[in-house]
């Protein structure tokens, strides 16, 4: 029995296998329609989520399985002070697999220590969110046909953005990947995230100017620059518009650029870009369902 609490729980070969399964599901969904018949997924969401919870639930339903769970801590025994361990021990009596989101870092690890069924971390605070990273990787594979030999721009809040850190960790395993890190000085990638880049001689450049590097990018991964991250309001006002993607800025980009965003978006990508074929973020949300289907199959050891 396996648990997935971090993207590093999966080898590169396993990630490639999950992506291949997801691609097969996209091509032949009927083949998988009863794969998890009579199996139950418990979604234990201690904080709100739109995409992650619904995509997990849609994934299980499309595999022919069933879904139970809660979507906020207030509607579970957590509101009465029940521990994660006790909740999980109980849920294991009713479900075959668990997807857990929790505002506290490491809660899914606690769950995995007490669970008798596989636990998937569906996001633990600012710590890990492995199925988002798998979603990002499948999106890149679907849009570009490869995960190697790509120039990947990451833009916005690179300091606190967990999706950015995990994507760097996952993508630096593939050959020929170059990262372009675009952020205000205040929100640069922390040094510990750059350790694997330096260790494996992965090329990366850092800049504060999105427009100057936009023509070089194959992938642009946007994240939100949040006001609360700044100590100084003036700095926020000075910088916030630099990292908003507009049709004007996009004129500098390659015709086959792929724009990704983990969502929710606030204003960092102009809605005018949504119709541009380079905007992948809603397709990305769709791919999130397919990669979660692949992960559920793997952890339930179901072969089709």
């Amino acid at each position: 029995m396996r648990h997935i609490t971090s993207i590093t729980d999966l080898s590169t070969a396993e990630i490639d296998e999950l992506i291949a399964t997801a691609q097969d599901i996209i091509e032949q969904p009927q083949k998988y329609a009863e794969a998890c018949s009579r199996k139950k997924l418990a979604t234990l969401f201690y904080e709100p989520s739109t995409r992650t919870r619904l995509s997990f639930e849609a994934a299980m339903i499309e595999l022919g399985g069933h879904v139970l769970g809660f979507s906020e801590a207030a509607s579970s025994s957590a509101a009465k002070g029940e521990s994660v361990a006790d909740t999980v021990r109980t849920v294991c009596c009713y479900a075959d697999i668990i997807a857990m989101r929790h505002p506290k870092e490491g809660a899914p690890t606690v769950a995995s220590l007490h669970a008798t069924v596989p636990v998937i971390n569906a996001g633990d605070g600012g710590h890990n969110h492995p199925t988002q990273t798998l979603t990002d990787l499948l999106t890149i594979k679907m849009e570009k046909g490869r995960l190697s030999n790509l120039t990947v721009g990451l833009c916005g809040d690179l300091k606190f953005g967990r999706t950015v850190h995990s994507l760097i960790t996952a993508m630096c395993r593939y050959p020929g990947v170059r990262f372009v890190l675009v952020s205000p000085e205040e929100l640069k990638v922390p040094s510990y995230v750059k350790i694997p880049l330096k260790r494996d001689n992965v090329r990366y450049d850092q800049t504060t100017d999105l427009c100057s590097v936009l023509p070089e990018l194959d992938i642009l991964y946007m994240t939100r620059v949040q006001r609360e991250r700044f100590f100084n309001e003036d700095d926020y006002i000075r910088l916030k518009d630099s990292y908003i993607l507009t049709p004007e800025k996009l004129e500098y980009a390659k015709a086959d650029l792929s724009i990704l965003h983990p969502l929710p978006r606030v204003n960092e990508i102009s809605v005018a870009i949504d119709q541009d074929p380079r905007a992948c973020y809603f397709r990305q949300a769709l791919y999130g369902k397919f990669i979660r289907m692949a992960l559920i199959l793997k952890l339930l050891e179901v072969t089709v």
């Binding site: 521990s83 929790h102 506290k104 870092e105 490491g106 690890t109 606690v110 605070g125 710590h127």
Partner: protein, 139 residues
């Protein structure tokens, strides 16, 4: 200053000056009713100044965990008044309930009964990280 030699017990030597009380607290020596001596700021050719703790009792704890608190220490095991073993503690792969995770976003901050477990990540740098939230350990 005369401090009686111990018969059966432990002498923790080469403690960095000022660290003796941390070790005293960690080993909960205050709860023992045997003789315990703390020597502070003793002259040391190696360290300049050092602390020493002498415990006239056999403790049933993993003394290797002391390596995290102070990697310079030497542990001497005394039996019948004779030193039978002298060693430097090896950093353990895992330390439990010795240090607490200080990350307010960690699950341990709200679930009081969880053990605070840290895994050794880098032996050279003496670096431990919380097994739940992966925050760096600090004393």
């Amino acid at each position: 200053m005369n401090i009686d030699s111990i018969n059966n017990g432990i002498v923790i030597d080469h403690i960095k000056a000022g660290m003796a009380m941390k070790i005293y607290d960690f080993l909960e020596l205050g709860a023992l009713d045997c003789p315990v001596a703390i020597i502070k700021n003793a002259a040391s050719p190696k360290l300049g100044k050092k602390d020493i703790i002498k415990i006239d009792s056999v403790l049933n704890v993993d003394l290797n965990a002391l390596g995290y608190i102070d990697p310079t220490i030497t542990i001497n095991i005394i039996k019948d008044g004779v030193r039978v073993k002298k060693y430097h503690p090896e950093l353990p792969e895992k330390i439990t309930n010795i240090i607490r995770c200080k990350n307010p976003r960690c699950i341990t901050s709200i679930e009081q009964e969880l053990p605070h477990v840290f895994n050794l990540i880098d032996r050279e740098k003496d670096e431990y990280r919380c097994m739940y939230c992966e925050s760096k350990a600090s004393l």
